[in-house]
């Protein structure tokens, strides 16, 4: 097992280097000069342009810029935003809890609904329920996020008035963030109704963000279950006279879960990309919206730093999934 963990950890390092190279190179390959964008129609004189390039270090050879960047990264310094002049790390971690809160809630929703739906669909293969679940999942998977979000806002907030339109908490409540997680902070604040307000603000964005992972998890669970349900050991279990519930949960589900867990791990990456759109629509102050702004302003340090930190999170989650996977299935940790 130790050897397995070491191998997995060893793979993380080249991935990490690859990401720094990719983000650093790609944002520079995208056309657009951050200084021109900063100046807009007004423009800057060629002298001032050169001066600003020198101030941001863009006048140095690309390799040297990369070297400076990497040296900074190794010391935990991701540079300062060109736009706000604030340290990238500081900005990222101010906003990150909002994204994590939304993502955790969304993945929780996706698993809580997707997993049972997939199991039931597999057990009742070909039934109306199965067709409904799979049809809905396919629709959910192909739904454009921004359209789906607006539809929910107009219906639940506009017409029914059940949920607030956007934001993280009602403007009536005001407290300094302690953890950055609104659900926790609202409880800590001791203000009556704050927690309920925070939950009500979380519902719609979490539904929107969970839609795609939910569809994927439901479909994956169904197909994994179908495969396992045809296995000999399931037939044996049934033949032994075990209750159908026990056969499904103990004998089938445990084996079917392995691919499902992998998919859940992979969905973390999907969640972050979904968060970019969801956050923009629901005015959710997370890293998704921040990253979009940074990309459109060609704020190199913010884009590089932000993507690196997000990628690190995704890598860590998948590493964790790999390890869990190794625990569940001994065959995997013995594969070299």
């Amino acid at each position: 097992m130790f050897r397995f963990i070491l191998t997995r950890l060893g793979l993380v390092i080249p991935t990490f280097v690859g990401i720094t190279l990719l983000t650093f190179g790609m944002i520079r390959l995208v056309p657009g000069d951050p200084i021109e964008l900063l100046a807009g129609e007004r423009g800057v004189t060629p002298e001032r342009h050169a001066q600003l390039r020198a101030e941001y270090g863009f006048d140095k050879p690309v390799l040297e810029q990369y070297w400076n960047y990497i040296s900074g990264v190794l010391q935990g310094d991701l540079g300062k935003s060109i736009t706000t002049k604030q340290p990238v790390v500081e900005e990222f971690f101010t906003l990150f809890p909002a994204t994590v809160e939304l993502s955790v809630f969304a993945i929780f929703l996706a698993v809580a609904i997707g997993l049972p739906a997939g199991i039931i669909a597999a057990v009742r293969r070909g039934s109306v329920f199965d067709h409904t679940v799979m049809g809905t999942a396919l629709t959910g998977y192909s739904m454009p996020i921004f359209w789906w979000a607006l539809l929910l806002i107009i219906f639940f907030s506009g017409i029914l008035g059940w949920t607030p339109v956007s934001g993280r908490i009602s403007l009536l409540y005001f407290f300094e963030p302690v953890t950055g997680f609104m659900l926790i902070d609202s409880l800590l604040s001791g203000q009556e109704g704050a927690f309920r307000s925070a939950v009500s603000h979380l519902i719609l964005p979490a539904i929107v963000l969970s839609t795609i992972p939910l569809a994927v998890i439901a479909r994956q669970t169904r197909s994994a279950m179908l495969e396992v349900l045809n296995e000999d050991y399931v037939r044996t279990a049934k033949a032994k006279g075990l209750s159908p519930g026990r056969v499904i949960t103990v004998h089938a589900l445990r084996n079917a879960l392995i691919p499902v867990i992998t998919v859940i791990g992979l969905q973390v990456g999907v969640l972050f990309s979904g968060a970019v759109l969801t956050e923009s629509i629901f005015s959710w102050p997370g890293i998704g919206k921040w990253l979009i702004d940074s990309i459109s302003r060609r704020d190199y340090p913010s884009v590089q730093g932000g993507i690196l930190l997000i990628a690190t999170t995704v890598i860590l989650v998948n590493l964790l999934v790999d390890l869990v996977y190794g625990f569940i299935n001994p065959r995997i940790r013995h594969t070299r």
Binding site: A39, R42, T84, L171, L172, K289
Partner: protein, 530 residues
Amino acid sequence: MKKKPLIMLAAASALSISIAAQAKTLVYCSEGSPEGFNPSLYTAGTTFDASSRALFNRLVEFERGGTNIVPALAESWTVSDDGLEYTFNLRKGVKFHTTGSFTPSRDMNADDVVFSFKRQGDADHPYHKVSGGAYEYFNGMSMPDLLKDVVKVDDMTVKFVLNRPEAPMIANLGMDFASIMSAEHADQMMAAGTPEKVDLEPVGTGPFQLVAYQKDAVIRYKAHPDYWAGKAAIDDLVFAITIDPAVRYQKLKAGECHVMPYPNPADIEAMRNDPDLNLLEQEGLNVGYLAYNSMMAPFDNPKVRKALNMAINKDAIIDGVFQGAGKVAKNPIPPTIWSYNDATEDDGYDPAAAKAMLEEAGVSGLSTKIWAMPVQRPYNPNARRMAELIQADWAAVGVEAEIVSFEWGEYLKRSKAEDRDGAVLLGWTGDNGDPDNFLAVLLGCDGVGGSNRAQWCHQPFEDLIQKAKVTSDPAERTSLYEQAQLVFKEQAPWATIAHSVVFMPVRKEVKDYLIDPFGGHIFYGVDLVE
């Protein structure tokens, strides 16, 4: 941001989100996050709304809802006969904000004015490099060349010494970058070793003071109790940052905010018919244009440019691109700016005459390019569509045009090139309400290869605007600019396309909101009624 004492707005029942319950808290659904709170460091209007327009004052300001200059922190001023010295008498008894970490010991005085300008203009000033130290507006308005010195005459008198006469100087001092900050606060922060806090925890003299900023989410202000012009009618001001215009509209309808900027053109009709809303509208201080490259044949011939102008059906553009929210432009400055010459004759839409003129100029089988911006701007909501309409109009007179576009930063850069191929769609929003801010920046000889996208340097025009720049008599300046507009029209370096109309939906309970012609959003003077 450092923790501050909080104002608890907690109230009423949990989910009664209705903000009307908080009688005097005005919520503005702003379109984006401010870059920071020191307006001299940034250039975005969103930043100015959150900083200079709420927190700070300038020596002179623009009258609310207009472009006229009115006294603010300066009560009066005099200009020397040679136009090189501007002496300002400061207003007495102006209080700075008291914040959690700063209590002012004195009223605003000349030291604050000198500090605010020296920080931007003097590279050796201890604050010059703080927070990145890029003062793009100060540079963009040529202040480093223009400003020789800012001198404290006595506690309540400041003198600005210029290198050359500049009639728009007073208007420049009304701009956001010229906001006055507290020198005492700056000294304290420098002594504490945290100079950057001056920009993070702003201390101004403005009608509101900052309570807290939760990044990308909410900005909270409270009324400055000792504001020199009288405390604001509202007690608290909240900016709820909401990027998506459709979501802003839903929030406005749900009563989650009172005022929203930049509505979707498609929602305008519904807003007009909504009994809970007032839809305010005003012509924007902007112009959208198509600039020919007057250095390249055959566009170096004014006749060709004029003929192409006559081939464009501008009314169709107003309907198709602006969906009615625009007015045909005939001058390079909008009608809300003084000296606008209404006597100018526009190049009427006449394809037959245009064709004849082109033939007369010996141009046949012309093929060129139309540059369409990739972004939506106040003066042009859809450049691609506009380019397509112009392309079709030109095809009707035998001119073949290819539409090209680049990423916005690239577009701005490449369109400056003197050997650029084709005509460029672009525009401008005024900074200070002075005609010079349009005519000299966009059409002056200095701008060739830069902000003068027509690459047009025409001596008779240049002489008029240069003379107007150094003339202090308003009547004479008006006359010079009126003549310049006639010369412009006759030479036709641009097709002037449109001035857009700005829409601002506000809830019925909002009283006295005025649209700012400069595109700002100002809440002093606004009230809420039940």
